[in-house]
Amino acid sequence: MFEHLVAAFGLVATFETILALAVGVAVGVVLGAVPGMTATMAVGLSLPFTFLLQPVTGILLLLGVYKGGIYGGSIPAILIKTPGTPASSCTVLDGYPMAQKGQAGKALDMALYASCTADFISNLSLILFAAWLAQIALAFGPPEYFTLIVFSLTIIAGVAGDDLVKGCVSAALGLILATIGLDLIFGTDRFVFGTTSLMSGLNFIPVLIGLFALPEVIDYFGRKASARVKVSSVGGTHASWADYKRCLPTIIKSSFIGVLMGAIPGIGGAPSAFLAYSEARRTAKNRHEFGKGAIEGVAASEAGNNGVAGATMIPLLALGIPGDVITAVILGAFMIHGLQPGPVMFQNNLTMIYALFIGIMASSVLLFIIGKIGIRLFRRIADIPKSLMFPMVLVLCIFGSYAINNSMFDIAVMLATGFLGYFMLRFGIPAAPFLIAFILGPILENTFRQSLLMGGGDYTIFFRSTINWIFWALTVGSLVLIIYQTVIKRRPIPVG
């Protein structure tokens, strides 16, 4: 173990890796702070720039973008009452009233301190639980993996928005698109139609970029700024050590809520932030100040959404399944760099795992440093005109899609999925389930057919082991919960 740890330290403690991590965090904060951009888009657009890097360096750069992006969303939430990312929606509740009182600097400081503390706690939980979970997963065969992935697909419900049926439609479209290419067993053509470029299937980067970035570019054609955005001044106020100490119990509690919510596939940062916020308000002595500019409110929501970041990596690293849409993108990044996260990686590539752990811990420190240095600079990001930003996104989409295989065909794929993504946007079909299904589809099909082969075509193979039954029970339980929540949501609220 010790030699792996030393080797891992050697991998991370290089100028190139630390620089990549710092650049990743800075890019993430900047893109997260732009309203209309998301952490997913930020990770997707940064991905092609990691091709020339070593796998550890490239993955850490992307993790830096992810963490920076989640924190960056809080900056416009506090300064212009517009969350940069959905996860920061809750920060608006107290962050903006604080900015109106001239305490924007204090709110931004507390958002940073809470984010870094929560991030650190979340990373620790990742280190503690991932290896343990991977150990259990070593006993899994294809039927167990199939049921695990079926269970993990219930995360689609978490990212489907208000309409579960449309979420499932989106997933079904993603699954069918993932079948394009050569058949896994016979090697015969599936939806290839004589096109050589389609034989290896569609690459996930053009699909990701097309699906998440291009619809926003198209949608902006029909929009205009509703009003000149007023950016609050950061002012001279800062959060003191006493403020931090006062908020620390809230931060720790909210971080653990974030960790718990992050480890459950599909919950994501926004619900976690709201849960942490409501729990903080419920137990606070000054609960009447919540919503009017309570610093504890900012601390709770930011710790709640950042606590998710490390924990969502637990199922990814230990089981090879994504916990949310960003980790689905990171799973794709692992594959592009020739790595397959999961229990086998813990056996065969422990150095890589330790390197990731060390890098992830370092990212919390870098987030603090970059956040502290750049606080005054980042407030200007909200001023970037969209009329220049979206064409810029389009150019990044073009170069990024091309660079994956040096292929113009991938640009065509990106444009085609962009149009599909816009169609989905207009019909209220969420894009996240599509991407998750597209990435998990080949693994799901592979384990499904391998299991049936093992069982001689007998479907009872999926019900033979205890692990299978546990995952079926979790899947059913999760579906019942989702249906129950949907019914509760639709029930009209009695008046009077």
């Binding site: 990212v159 067993i185 599936r190 198209i218 849409v325 009329s387 150019v395 073009i398």
Partner: protein, 181 residues
Amino acid sequence: MPAISRDLVLGLLLAAYSLFMAFVGIPFGIDSPEEVPNPALSPRLWPDIIIAITAFLAALMILRAIVGRKNGDGPEPAGSPLPPVEEGGAVDPTMEWQGRTGTILTLVGVVFLLLTYPVLNVFGLLIGSVILMAAFSLLYRERQWSALIGSAVGIPLVCYLFFEKVANIPIPMGLMSFLEG
């Protein structure tokens, strides 16, 4: 003519897609051996299952739209611009949909995007991106010429230099291919 709900339109489109895939797409798009000893080996098994699920979802959407209307739930306005906020989806509340003008401008934008691929094919990625960046900025009503020209030239140039010179990825130059190498 009564307003057609967006869900009903979507359900019908999905049903048509499922039928097309079941009777044309899968039989003609997937090569399968004449005799497959085990159903699990068939390359068509998995796509068949997915299309069956899609057909079921289409039926569910149609049913939901019809039952919803009978129960007096008003149909959703077709093409309502704001999608639900989802994880990974972005909706910028500072931006306002422009109604009919917005639809026309979006259609113009879509036509421009359709031209993207031929433009890149002819002019290459560098010059093509400069043209596209300038055209899209103008279409987005950017009138600050210095910023427009600066970003239209600067961003594609930075991308070109990074991928071509740093990452050693050969960038196609189209008509400017004499600059290659």
